[in-house]
């Protein structure tokens, strides 16, 4: 069609609507980082992660835990603080083109959330199953837990809340209250982290090994359902973007 093959002219001085560099750099950051994490697990899980009373466990796993917790709290504080502090106080007065640009930036955040959720809820959670079917645990802070619960979950929480804050502080669409399903899709998966308390309590109390379908794990299931809130986010976004493009696509 002529409309689709016609060359799109962009103003040379104008910032691009979608900053692809940022998007691919962000995706690469998660993928390379988690690739390194998986390598670390492969090497130090077997060589230093089998006995939590061994000195090497403290060196390679407990120190990893302490460092990641400090870094996560700092990252969350700085990132969320920056997004909030630099918020647009005249968000309702921006031009339609600027609004479109911000929707793209918002979607870069949501793409990162997709990657972070994948690693947290899929990759490292099922991985935990095979580790604990293989190694009998003698601590709550097993190598797979140090990565799954205390690294990959905080990372998707930090990413999800950042996306939500970006939308709330920079997009006119989100100025008329709090989007219910956006909160569900961010706070629900966040609640998986506090649910670790129930999980560890149960494993400690009954010393049950890793039967994955045990009712003790149903808290994770319930909060996992909240990921479906992304359907509501998509619908809000499609509505907002359609409004911006409607007359030009007609």
């Amino acid at each position: 069609m002529a409309a689709t093959t016609e060359q799109v002219k962009a103003d040379a001085h104008e910032a691009p609507l979608l900053n692809k560099q940022n998007m691919f750099a962000g995706a690469a950051l998660y993928i390379v980082f988690y690739g390194w994490v998986r390598w670390y697990e492969g090497v130090y899980g077997w060589s230093a992660g089998l006995d939590s009373f061994a000195p090497e466990f403290e060196t390679y796993w407990m120190n990893f835990l302490y460092i990641e917790m400090v870094v996560e709290v700092m990252t969350a504080s700085i990132l969320w603080g920056y997004i909030w502090k630099s918020r647009d106080r005249k968000v309702m007065s921006i031009t339609p083109r600027e609004e479109l640009r911000r929707h793209f930036t918002h979607w870069i955040w949501l793409v990162m959330y997709g990657i972070a959720i994948y690693y947290g809820a899929s990759y490292f959670t099922e991985q935990d199953g095979t580790w604990h079917q293989t190694i009998v645990r003698d601590t709550d802070f097993t190598p797979s837990h140090v990565i799954e619960f205390y690294l990959s979950y905080p990372i998707y929480i930090i990413t999800g809340v950042a996306a939500f804050l970006y939308a709330k502080t920079r997009l006119p669409t989100y100025q008329n209250g709090l989007p219910l399903q956006y909160m569900v899709s961010v706070i629900g998966p966040f609640m998986i982290l506090p649910n670790v308390g129930l999980n560890e309590w149960g494993h400690t109390f009954w010393f049950m090994e890793e039967l994955f379908v045990a009712p003790l794990h149903y808290g994770f299931v319930f909060f996992g359902w909240a990921a479906l809130g992304v359907l509501g986010v998509v619908n809000i976004e499609v509505g907002a973007i359609s409004k911006l493009l409607k007359k030009d696509l007609a």
Partner: protein, 249 residues
């Protein structure tokens, strides 16, 4: 409206923008749904899915379709009823299978050294195709629930049979009769599946002799119908665009 009030410079740019958003939305939807669906499935039906010696003719056939029809029903409720996209079920299952295969290979095999022919995931694609096809052709949630849901349960075992059949042949080992899948389990001892927990091939369903799997599949299809209805409405709720006031939170 003046040109300056437009978000784009031309119709061509509008088309390009629209398509770029399509890809970003699909990517995000795919991976977020994958994450939620995978954690749900691994913790409600996972053990039956992880190990071939759990893939029996009774509980695996019953449990797997019931717990896996959930997210497809919910995503169909959004993608079909809002956008007329007829691939809600298949896109969910593709996501789940991607997450599972990556894990079984890189972690079950790559980290803890279980052979892949012991830990491959269940096949769910045939049921998903039927769910989407019934919705596309019938355009009805009720028809999809009843016909599609029943088919989803009934097709599960035949869909997995080509892979599982060789592992269900009988072998004699140390004077005991068992399946090859059971033998795999004996050789790969796991912390959560000692013999007293595993319940393969026990129970009064054996009364029906060789018909264990069809009876289980039929029961599974029946429950899948109910679960489809339930999750369709969950999906509608999750797809809502409601805003709440700050004071209400």
């Amino acid at each position: 409206m003046s040109a300056s009030q437009s978000a784009v410079r031309s119709r061509a740019e509008a088309v390009k923008v629209s398509r770029t958003f399509d890809w970003m939305i699909l990517f995000t939807l795919f991976f977020v749904v994958l994450g939620g669906y995978h954690i749900h499935y691994m913790l409600t039906g996972g053990d039956w899915d992880f190990w071939t010696d759990w893939k029996d003719r009774r509980l695996w056939v019953t449990v797997a379709p019931i717990v896996s029809i959930t997210f497809p029903a919910a995503v169909q409720a959004c993608l079909w009823y809002r956008y007329r996209l007829p691939f809600g079920a298949v896109v969910c299952i593709l996501g789940l299978l991607l997450g599972e295969w990556v894990n079984r290979y890189l972690n079950f095999w790559g980290w803890t050294y279980f052979p892949v022919n012991f830990v491959f995931p269940s096949q769910l694609i045939p049921g998903a195709i039927v769910l989407d096809a019934v919705l596309l052709l019938g355009g009805s949630m009720t028809l999809t629930a009843v016909v599609g849901g029943l088919a989803y349960g009934l097709l599960f075992y035949p869909g997995n049979w080509p892979v599982m059949a060789p592992l269900h042949v009988p072998v004699e080992y140390n004077g005991m009769m068992m399946t090859l899948a059971d033998l795999q389990g004996y050789h790969y001892v796991r912390t959560g599946t000692p013999e007293y927990i595993r319940m393969v091939e026990k129970g009064t369903l054996r009364t029906f002799g060789k018909d264990v799997a069809p009876v289980s599949a039929f029961f599974s299809g029946f429950v899948s119908i109910i679960i489809y209805f339930l999750w369709h409405f969950f999906g509608r709720w999750f797809a809502s665009t409601e805003f709440v006031s700050g004071e209400a939170v």
